[in-house]
Point group: C2
């Protein structure tokens, strides 16, 4: 993947940033369509994502760039970055290695309102302790 500066500039210009300079991003597995997670990006994260082809978010809790998979190895390779009609949400089509969720599940959306409870509908596919060791799991 090579940086397409005019496209990056056009995208950044079209984003409707929050007051703190962020935009939300939905990550979707490009071939299966699974919605994996939702996180934030700032200008730097978007530039890095488009330059490297590896998805980088902005962690509000760390107040810093969050290079997805940096600790866990569960990286997201970017396939395409899309923007919605009013510019306040991105859709990243990605190729997710292993688990997107810090709980070791493929997707962060593993709870559903079902049968009188908030049911857990997916099992971990990886052990968070192995993915993150003793360090704090993202985000």
């Amino acid at each position: 993947m090579t940086l397409d500066e005019p496209a990056v500039a056009a995208l950044l210009d079209a984003v409707a940033w929050t007051p703190t300079g962020l935009v939300s991003c939905v990550a979707q597995q490009h071939d299966t369509g699974e919605v994996l997670m939702v996180a934030w990006m700032d200008r730097v994260a978007i530039r890095e994502t488009l330059a490297t082809g590896r998805v980088c978010y902005f962690s509000r809790s760390r107040n810093w760039l969050w290079r997805k998979g940096e600790t866990s190895g569960q990286v997201q390779r970017l396939v395409e970055l899309r923007l919605d009609c009013d510019g306040d949400a991105l859709l990243a089509l990605v190729d997710q290695a292993g688990a997107a969720c810090h709980t070791g599940r493929r997707s962060c959306f593993y709870r559903a309102a079902r049968d009188g409870v908030l049911a857990v509908i997916a099992d971990p596919i990886a052990d968070p302790a192995e993915l993150y060791g003793r360090s704090e799991a993202a985000p």
Copy 2:
């Protein structure tokens, strides 16, 4: 669809609300996997969505409930409502009638960083003027 009060209560308890009492919601077509849009919900919108089986958002610009399809007829029937690991995003699996986007496109994510521009990658499937008449398009 009948209201599952214990599940609703469990879901509402698990949401990490914004300071203004909102949570973002990704709408995905349940069978094709298309990501259609991202919008906001408040407690009332979630309750109405789960009670009626028709997706209701909260419009920040109108500061009121936004019953998806109320003007345009392009309703979203709810299949399942899911919550992510940290509680700050919902995933609504829906059955979308026609166009989710107020531009008449199936999905709001019709722009992509491609080939030096922010390219328009999908055509309208409906005429917004026919969907919305002279009234203001949502959101």
